[in-house]
């Protein structure tokens, strides 16, 4: 329809701007309001949603048959059967009233989706232009691409503002469909397979989600329990079964072990899609819903079991990240690990841990989107996403290297965001049931995290004596997005006390009647540290005398400026460096073979505990 790419790009940028301004406006107008419910008419909307759901099922069935993905077909059929049965026999009497709502947590999610999601969409315009120049063999479906991206964002907004569980589910399924379409964008065999893998695993979750409706409609035929707030307030004895079912769906969407493979496979998609899936959409929907159900899980053994799934995933996924040389894969496993930590915090569910979980969601979204987009940019310029090829990035792409360093620092270093949350998590877990096990896992996991991030950071920041600045070729639109995200990463660390007091603490207070925060003097120290970090680079300019430069020590060998030297038998050798990957200890296959069964057992344990508890009349 629109022949000119410029116009299309401008429309995307404009839409992104509107969405981000919209979410900021929402924040500005309603952050003081607490929880506000809206009685949006249920019946007509439900019919529209039903039609769309059937259409989605038919589309998935068609695609499943076309690509001979019969397991996917089967799963779609099961899920459709459940929803149809529910619609035919139970849905008639349901009249949930408070269908939409806003509270502080929704606002946080909306800000993440609105600002980060739109920035990624804007970045994608220029990325996709280059992408199709580099890959002429891939069919240009950019219209579909941007349509789905915005549908995706819209579904995320719907998800975080819906108080009606049926609506949450509707948007939930749309995010599954959107990610399926985006992962399969390039239509290669690998992309198609990975898209179906994501679809299958997320459908498993969808089935559990749908099954919770059967239970809810049986317990309360009037449909009152379909309101999220009413369900959570109804007490653990009623809510624990749907909570565990829906949190199971959350585990699949948040790519926890044993479902982690879909998120790793999703990296075949164009990089903006990965950025979107990892930061502001999809996986964040999974942890969002678990955080919502945290008060129900609090104090239950089932909650501890689900939390353990998160903790084991955190430890093992971090360890796997050590053994990966592919930058996108490292990012993917680090996402899985961090989501694991969020799941662990939310499932154990004390106020301190929920505070930490929401902090993690925010910081992870900012830093991870920055990292993905930086890696995408580097890949387009150098043709490699391998960390081993990132030697001297600081020489070739100084600004991008600094941004990668900021993003990495944001992921693991004091005084940046993720570390604040990890620290709060340690303090939170100590006083929680089975806390010592969680603290142990966290202690080992964070040690591992330091290792894989720091070695990558070192690679990027090593100043090679060769190489030239190639940065001029990066488009302006990309710079705007990358520098905004880098600024957000730093700002998030500077402003987190404000975010905490304005949004997170009121939310936690509203849910639990008590709240959590970091001690004042610690916050002051952290802010001082950030300021120190910001001022340190100035010392480069103030040093009065320039130090004399010498070549590196090469054992006295005659070496050329690009570090080549005469080896034995007169063969010229080049000095190269390589990071440790420890594949024999932290290999992907090896650790997945360990983690998947443990997590399956833990999930089964959670289910068994709930079932057993029901039969005994207690909440386990």
């Amino acid at each position: 329809m629109l022949p000119n790419n410029r116009i299309k790009d401008a429309i995307v940028a404009l839409a992104g701007l509107v969405i981000s301004l919209g979410s900021i406006y929402l924040f500005a107008t309603s952050f003081t309001g607490g929880s506000v419910y809206f009685s949006f008419p249920f019946e007509p909307t439900a019919q529209v949603m039903f039609v769309i759901e059937v259409a989605i099922s038919l589309l998935l069935l068609y695609l499943g048959m076309k690509f001979k993905q019969y397991v996917a077909v089967l799963l779609v059929l099961v899920q459709t059967a459940i929803t149809l049965y529910f619609e035919m026999t139970m849905a008639g009497g349901l009249e949930p009233v408070k269908n939409l709502f806003i509270d502080e947590f929704s606002i946080i999610m909306a800000l993440i989706i609105g600002i980060i999601g739109s920035l990624i969409a804007v970045y994608a315009t220029s990325y996709m232009n280059t992408y199709h120049e580099h890959h002429p063999e891939i069919r240009d479906r950019r219209r579909m691409f941007f349509f789905v991206v915005f549908v995706f964002l819209a579904a995320m907004f719907g998800l975080v503002f819906s108080n009606n569980l049926l609506w949450v589910f509707f948007f939930w399924e749309i995010t599954t469909l959107s990610s399926f379409l985006l992962i399969g964008y390039s239509e290669t065999e690998e992309a198609t397979n990975n898209a179906f893998l994501a679809l299958k695993l997320n459908l498993l979750g969808g089935i559990a989600f749908a099954a919770s409706f059967l239970y809810l409609a049986t317990v309360d035929p009037s449909g009152g329990l379909f309101e999220l707030d009413a369900l959570i307030a109804s007490g653990q004895s009623v809510a624990i079964i749907p909570a565990v079912l829906i949190c199971f769906a959350g585990l699949t969407k948040a790519a926890q072990m044993p479902f982690s493979s879909w998120l790793v496979g999703a990296m075949v998609a164009p990089t903006p899609v990965s950025a979107l899936l990892h930061s502001s959409t999809m996986v964040k929907a999974g942890v969002y819903i678990i955080v919502r159900f945290a008060p129900v899980l609090l104090g239950t053994l089932a909650g501890v079991a689900l939390g353990m799934v998160g903790a084991v995933t955190f430890l093992l996924a971090s360890a796997i990240a050590i053994s990966q040389t592919n930058a996108k894969k490292v990012l993917a496993y680090s996402t899985i690990a961090n989501l694991g930590l969020i799941v662990a915090c939310a499932s154990v569910g004390t106020p301190e841990l929920v505070w930490a979980a929401i902090m993690l969601i925010i910081f992870h979204a900012v830093a991870k989107s920055l990292l993905f987009l930086c890696v995408g940019t580097v890949e387009h310029r150098t043709g490699s996403r391998d960390i081993e090829d990132m030697d001297g990035l600081i020489v070739k792409f100084p600004k991008i290297a600094v941004m990668i360093a900021i993003g990495i620092a944001g992921m693991f270093l004091a005084p940046f965001g993720m570390l604040i949350s990890k620290w709060a998590a340690i303090e939170g877990f100590i006083d929680a049931p089975f806390g010592i096990v969680f603290v142990t896992i966290l202690a080992f996991g964070s040690a591992v995290t330091v290792f894989f991030w720091a070695k990558w950071m070192g690679k990027v920041l090593s100043v090679t004596p060769f190489g030239e600045n190639l940065e001029g070729s990066v488009s302006r639109g990309k710079w705007v997005v990358l520098s905004s995200l880098a600024a957000l990463t730093v700002l998030a660390a500077l402003l987190f006390p404000l975010v905490s007091s304005v949004l997170i603490e009121p939310y936690v207070l509203g849910v639990y009647g008590e709240t959590a925060r970091l001690a004042q003097d610690n916050i002051i120290i952290m802010l001082l540290m950030i300021l120190l970090l910001l001022f340190l680079p100035l010392s480069l300019y103030t040093s009065s005398k320039e130090s004399r430069k010498l070549p590196v020590y090469m054992s006295g060998r005659a070496t050329t400026p690009d570090l080549k030297f005469a080896g034995s038998l007169g063969i010229q050798r080049e000095m190269t460096t390589r990071n440790y990957y420890f594949d024999e200890y932290f290999g992907e296959k090896k650790l997945l073979r360990l983690g998947d069964p443990i997590c399956i057992l833990l999930i089964l344990a959670a289910a068994a505990l709930v079932a057993w508890g029901m039969s005994m009349g207690v909440v386990m």
Binding site: L413, A447, V450, I525, L536, R548, V552
Partner: protein, 286 residues
């Protein structure tokens, strides 16, 4: 809760104390090896000489990283002696360490690169046990604040013998003592050029040395926390512990990095973890 005076005292006195400890270390080491050894103040002469040397670098960014290393070492230590949150102190130390590692990477030199990677391995090896130390002391004294742990009347050592032994083990790693001095070493005979510090020279190397003094004082301060109920005993134990570290340093040759990992994680997973579980379930803090 935090005291600025002790923090300032640390900033001023720690290098003097740390330098003296280094001097004693060299003297005792020499005696163990049947030598006379340098004068007690030799470390100060060495560092003073380093600062008189020409400032040569491979890349100017090294200077920046080392300044950051020193600054954050001082800040973390000052926060420790101000009585701040133990966990924040630990994380701030990690930040400082990452800076020296980045300085080594920045040079893009084969030897310092290997040293940087190995330094990260040691970091990974000791980190869990350090966190366990903080957690153990919290379980026993009920606080993460150094000020409250140090002044607690609870005999922490009686409840945390496993954690203490674990801490002594990783102390060997943190002090860069043999057999765990895999990233850089004070002993020329077992060093791969100079590992982490190969490409630092003159004033930059002097700063690394001073940062090391600051760090050692904090590490010895951590031993104190186990004996806060009896300051005299604490000082005796610190002296004994340091002597033990020198002894180990002189009786073991360097081991492979795998051994460092296994030792660090091993003590954390066994001594540390078991001790914590026992305290967690059988002793609920005061």
């Amino acid at each position: 809760m935090t005291s600025i005076i002790t923090a300032i005292a640390f900033v001023i006195l720690a290098p003097i104390l740390g330098g003296l400890v280094a001097g004693i270390d060299r003297k005792v080491t020499a005696r163990m090896q049947g030598r006379v050894g340098p004068p007690l103040l030799q470390p100060f002469y060495d560092v003073a000489k380093l600062f008189e040397k020409e400032d040569v670098t491979v890349t100017p960014s090294q200077n920046l990283y080392i300044i950051a290393y020193l600054v954050f070492m001082v800040v973390s230590g000052a926060y420790f002696f101000a009585g701040g949150d133990f966990l924040l102190v630990i994380f701030a130390f990690t930040l400082a360490h990452v800076f020296i590692v980045l300085g080594a990477y920045a040079a893009y030199s084969p030897y310092s690169y290997i040293g940087a990677e190995r330094e990260l391995i040691t970091l990974m090896a000791y980190e869990p046990m350090v966190i366990f130390t903080a957690v153990g002391l919290y379980l026993v004294t009920g606080s993460f604040y150094i000020s409250e742990i140090a002044t607690s009347t609870v005999p922490a050592i009686l409840y945390l013998p496993g954690v203490f032994l674990g801490f002594l083990t990783i102390l060997t790693i943190k002090l860069r003592k043999s057999p765990f001095d895999i990233s850089t070493s004070h002993h020329a005979h077992q060093e791969l050029v100079k590992g982490l510090t190969t490409e630092f020279a003159g004033p930059v190397l002097g700063k690394v040395e001073i940062a090391h003094w600051y760090e050692n004082v904090v590490l010895l301060g951590m031993i104190y926390l186990f004996f806060g109920f009896n300051p005299v005993l604490a000082i005796v134990v610190i002296a004994l512990a340091y002597f033990l570290e020198i002894f180990i340093d002189n009786t073991f040759s360097r081991m492979k990095w795998q051994w460092t990992m296994k030792s660090g994680w091993g003590v954390a997973a066994t001594l540390g973890f078991l001790n914590l579980v026992i305290v967690y379930y059988f002793y609920v803090g005061v």
